[in-house]
Symmetry: C2
Subunit: 250 residues, 2 copies
């Protein structure tokens, strides 16, 4: 099995190394990751900007490239330039959570969604610890467990998985829950500062606010100490609303 | 009615001006748009980067700001810094198509989706003409028609609309169709070049390939000369696949 490993925290991130270590147990690994942190890049791609691919020795003998673009660019370059046609795409392990609408902002998941566009079974992993020094030991055990399941019964290629792992020691993780994306929003707060030239600038410091108290969501699972596994769509059509708009058809 | 107008081609784009002109007929307009082109930015937001808002005289007396960030940042700054709570958010008119999976890559639609996160009825408009000199006359008539419908029967705030307009004179536009996102992919092609220092770099020149011949898609409507109106989700859960994964629950 050929496994393409990507992330959005960049090629030097500990979470990427943790994922590569586990992926190696399951097949031949190739790494294509951004050359710098790309958190919050959503599904951005580089239009009108030339892209670079730098061979990297970050992982010893494992073929690895640092890419000057976004996480989605990494997947496109892996297939389009390096000629990789992986059997599985793994993205992460992200340093930080990707639940609820964070899916839209997440570079980690854009790589997984890009893989699904290409018909590659794809999984994004995130650990609920934003520190660059986070301990990925328990997360690695969870990744291994999910890859063992995937090896036995391959997942549908057009349904990427969003796996969030609570920031707990392994014995304290309660289990795995299949979840839906919780309803919620980020309450935008901006800290205004004045630069040395007297001009204002703003730091975004959004705070997540849940609008969902149900017990089948990614948010609920994580709050209760479960791993959340949420299957994702690559069709953004609001099918159940098509009828609502028929009035404007002409 | 207060109307926030955004785009991804930047504050000087003709498509933005075309949209502002029509929006003015329906309410008080405020413009917050990127200070430079942001095509293909997907739902990127600026994390760890300070943001700027520059007052702009681009639209005469209409309040307008150029933002140093992404389309999604523009919406966040409009609500979070400028205190705007618009009744309607319009994004575009994009210079180029946004059908099928382009929705994921589109900065135009990320602004509309961001509006929907905030509970604001939101519509993204795109014209199937990539030229910065495109003629938006017919597109303006279509925008007007859709805004008249919206004024009479407000659209659900959590269902953003993706409106694509064929590049045709108004009399040749066949009508409006309510559509779903066509299945398709971009075939990645990269043009390799060598820089003056002997190092390779790559230009992405993807080509869209349809995997869908049904007659209810955005692609079909546009090929037949119809305006495509596709309602979008802000919940990426693949609900119909939740059962598939129950095997890994523990």
């Amino acid at each position: 099995m050929r496994i393409l490993v990507c992330n959005d925290d960049g090629i030097t991130a500990r979470g990427l190394r943790a994922l590569v270590e586990v992926a190696q147990e399951f097949g031949e690994v190739v790494v294509v990751a951004p050359d710098r942190p790309q958190s919050g890049m959503g599904h951005a791609i580089s239009i009108g900007v030339p892209l670079r691919l730098y061979p990297s020795r970050e992982f010893g003998d494992i073929p690895a490239w640092a890419c000057s673009g976004t996480p989605a660019d990494c997947v496109k370059l892996a297939t389009g330039v390096l000629g990789e046609r992986p059997d599985l795409l793994l993205s992460g392990i992200n340093h930080g959570a990707n639940f609820s609408i964070s899916v839209f902002y997440s570079g980690t998941l854009s790589a997984a969604i890009e893989g699904a566009f290409e018909g590659i079974p794809s999984i994004g992993f995130s650990l609920l610890n934003y520190s660059m020094e986070a301990d990925f030991t328990a997360a690695q055990a969870i990744v291994r467990e999910i890859l063992l399941l995937q090896a036995g019964q391959p997942f549908p290629a057009h349904v990427p998985l969003n796996v969030n792992i609570p920031n707990l020691p392994l014995p304290e993780i309660q289990g795995i829950r299949i979840t839906r994306q919780a309803k919620g929003r980020f309450v935008e707060q901006f800290e205004e500062r004045i630069d040395p030239y007297g001009q204002p600038y703003y730091w975004m410091v959004g705070r997540f606010e849940s609008q969902d108290t149900d017990t089948d969501t990614d948010l609920w699972a994580l709050e209760k100490g479960y791993v959340s596994v949420c299957p994702l769509l690559i069709d953004l059509t609001a099918h159940s609303y098509l009828h609502h708009w028929e009035m404007i058809r002409r």
